[in-house]
């Protein structure tokens, strides 16, 4: 009889541990995907000075666009929290978009190997930002499913876990014209 009770207690304890660990695993996944977005945004901003350098020699009459890009990069670098980083990162992307649109008018620039390389890198980074956001939202979804569905919901209240917010596409970003590289 006592053995049965001990066995039952062990099973119950295991269930509590499993659920606690599940919350932690999913939270770590969210943090990890968040830092992935951060890494890609940082990479993009790091490539900007190189891009400006390679463009400078060819594009003489379009100072305005280039200073826009530099300004957007500065704004991104001074962003403190994640939400504004994402926002400023999107603004930088749109500034880069107009720069690449102008580059279309300069055949010599388009033939420059360094420029082409940077263009490809930046296009790849844009994809990766999109994938990182997708994974972030996926991770949020599995976390929220756990906190909202039974029996997870009881453990969620026990461990003081509540549903998290999805990363929304900001209004500013939605208005970005689609530039094809």
């Amino acid at each position: 009889m006592i053995l049965w009770i001990i066995g039952l207690l062990i099973v119950i304890a295991l269930i509590f541990i499993v659920y606690y660990n599940r919350f932690v695993t999913l939270e770590n996944r969210i943090d990890n995907s968040l830092s992935q977005i951060d890494v890609q945004l940082k990479k993009r901003s790091d490539l900007v000075p190189n891009l400006i350098n390679s463009v400078k020699g060819y594009v003489k009459h379009e100072r305005g666009v280039m200073s826009e890009v530099t300004k957007a990069r500065k704004a991104f670098m001074s962003a403190k929290n994640f939400q504004s980083k994402v926002q400023k990162g999107a603004a930088l992307q749109s500034a880069l978009g107009s720069l690449f649109a102008i580059a279309e008018n300069y055949p010599q620039l388009k033939a420059n190997e360094n420029f082409l390389h940077l263009q490809q890198e930046l296009a790849a980074i844009e994809d990766k930002v999109a994938y990182a956001r997708q994974h972030y939202n996926d991770s949020i979804m599995s976390y929220n499913n756990l906190t909202k569905k039974f029996p997870g919901i009881t453990f969620a209240s026990l461990y003081r876990r509540s549903a998290k917010k999805y990363l929304e596409i900001l209004a500013e970003e939605k208005a970005v014209p689609k530039v094809s590289f």
């Binding site: 990890n32 990766k128 994938y131 990182a132 994974h135 996926d138 599995s142 499913n145 756990l146 569905k149």
Partner: protein, 302 residues
């Protein structure tokens, strides 16, 4: 949650199946050792048994820990270069982020045919190998689709299971070959009852012939099913079913003379590839992959 749960289930099932597969390998060796000892001399039963167990342990452990290297070496794959194969790295990095998996090591094998495979025993030890033909002929979306398909095999622990399957099939066929050949030379104990000996030899031959076929059939039916699952999981990463569908269409359309590809790839490795390197006109029980048309149809319906 239901979708996530089903993938988790898939992973769990693959881990359990892998475990059973290792068990089957051991049992197979014990049965084989028993039969061999009966045929040669029953008094050696324990000696043969011990050898069989030691041999099978070494075989499984070595095959398991070196599976990726064996697979890569058998197709003469080279490490992909960051400068030359940048498109592949971009696709793989994007998919690693989308799937949340560690970045796999990338390899290139020389072949005009469009194909790719994944190997390794766990996601952080995973490798993905692409043919040069695939890199040449697939565009960005298609490449991402195929990478996503391979990443799904990694995420679902298919690579571990398929690698073990390849190890098992390879082993069973080697043993069967050895046994059948030894019969030509083996004299057997002449002092024993001739009839039992003949019966034992017949059973042994039947076992040696049937075991590899049975092992292969089981492996193939599992392999076909997991291709559909990998296609679906891959789309979960790219959110773009057309990419993989178009890649499969290109694979379907290309015609490479069959004798050119045959000597490049060992038969046991076929289940690892995205499309069967030994594809024949007739689809059926012996195919490692479901028909490409059906896979395209399912992708386009997503």
């Amino acid at each position: 949650m239901s979708q996530h749960l089903s993938f988790d289930d898939q992973i769990q099932r693959n881990k359990i199946k892998s475990f059973f597969l290792i068990g089957i390998i051991f049992i197979f060796f014990i049965i084989l050792g028993y039969i061999i000892s009966l045929i040669l001399d029953p008094s050696y039963f324990f000696v043969i048994m011990i050898f069989a167990i030691i041999f099978s342990m070494i075989y499984v452990v070595a095959g398991y820990y070196n599976s990726d290297r064996i697979a890569l070496a058998s197709v003469k794959a080279k490490k992909a270069s960051h400068t030359e194969h940048r498109a592949l790295y971009h696709a793989a990095e994007g998919m690693a982020i989308a799937s949340g998996l560690p970045m796999p090591k990338l390899y290139i094998m020389e072949s005009d045919e469009i194909n790719a495979f994944a190997s390794g025993r766990s996601p952080d030890k995973a490798v993905i190998c692409f043919t040069t033909g695939a890199l040449k002929k697939l565009d960005k979306q298609e490449l991402e689709g195929v990478v996503a398909h391979e990443m799904s095999h990694i995420a679902n622990y298919d690579i571990r299971f398929m690698t073990l399957t390849a190890v098992l099939i390879g082993m069973v066929s080697i043993i069967a070959q050895m046994f059948l050949r030894s019969l030509w030379f083996g004299s057997g104990g002449h002092d024993r009852d001739g009839r039992t000996q003949i019966i034992m030899i017949v059973i042994g031959i039947a076992f040696a012939i049937l075991a590899p076929i049975a092992a292969q059939l089981v492996a193939l039916s599992i392999s076909r099913k997991r291709e559909y699952v990998a296609d679906a999981t891959g789309v979960k990463f790219t959110r773009y079913p057309k990419g993989l569908a178009n890649a499969l269409k290109k694979i379907k359309e290309e015609h490479v003379p069959s004798n050119e590809r045959k000597h490049r790839v060992a038969k046991a490795m076929a289940p690892l590839f995205i499309s069967d390197p030994f594809k024949k006109k007739v689809q059926g029980l012996f195919s490692t992959h479901p028909p490409v048309e059906e896979r395209i149809r399912r992708l386009e319906a997503m």
